[in-house]
Amino acid sequence: MTTIILAIVIGAAFGAALDRIGATNPNWIWRMLNLSNLHLMKTILLAIGTGSVLMFGGQMLGLVDVGHMSVKAAYAGVFIGGLMLGAGWAASGFCPGTGVAAAATGRKDALFFIAGGLLGAAAYMLSYPWWKSAGLLDDMAGGKVTLGAVPDSGYAGLTGLPGDVLGIVLGLAFIAVAFALPERLRRAPQGRAAEMPAE
């Protein structure tokens, strides 16, 4: 029962946060991906950095259970699948989480995204044996690895660096990049000022 209450509280907080940062709005996804406004990119980088510093800092202080980490395996299909997701994400303006959240905010196009997603996931369920037999799901570089070895995590490190310290350093790097990124990387269209979000 506690688990279900946590699912409701954390899930609702996640959905509300996605909506408030503009991630449920495809316009902001497209402006990030076509490099005309990096506001959402800065938000995401700061979020990853903040999460990383808090998690690894908490682990080092003994306040966060290292056993809660869950590292996914690395294999060739991760890159191929990433390419596919990226193309569909840019075309539709939705990813799995934001698509469901956007439908809940009243966006009708998001319902079509979810329908397509259910069909795409079903197509993968049927074609899974092919990817498996082609060897594209076989672990590479150790499979479930972190960049450094995180103490007591049970996951191997890609390098011999201390994983928790590295996690904090990388977290700070993500935060630094969030601050360093300009508002846009693409030349502004002539004759009108680019729309800027309020600071």
């Binding site: 688990t3 408030r20 402006r31 800065k42 808090l54 590292v71």
Partner: protein, 183 residues
Amino acid sequence: MPLNWKTGGVLLGAVFFLAVLLVKPIGVSTQFVILDAIIGDIANPALIQATEEGYTSSNAYLAKSGGKYAANAANPLNYSFVFVLAMALGAFLSARLRGGVGAAERTAPALWRANFGDAPLGRYAVAFLGGFVVLYGARLAGGCTSGHMMSGMMQTALSGYIFAAGAFAAAVPTAILMYRKEA
């Protein structure tokens, strides 16, 4: 207007941290498979079968890893599935509190209309096809933007970096080609 990126970034980061502090890292795309399996099992009750130790399936993907997907589909009242339902509820309430989404936006976003016009059919078709490719890719990769990119890179997982490299390598050129006009 979305939250300032400094406030929004700390807020979103705090939610990702809270998830890993209290339960486990956030992920969404697996639940599309679970819903497929629930629907599939209604249409064909032989899809998911109970065994002495748990559950298995006639589908190899649902049966993998000791039948954990089959087990979750047989018992939808589990953390990850309820999490996604609650995410929708949170987004719904947040949208209500900020005044909702306008009528034209609900059908097609402003940037779509600026580039492709007001007819909804094209937008719905691209959203549907996009959804197909996104979820096929996410299941092949073993995670999506939340599970691989955010939770993965936050944990310094190698797989998260590989996924993000692939996703942005395809997403940025696609968005630049498709959405030339700004709005």
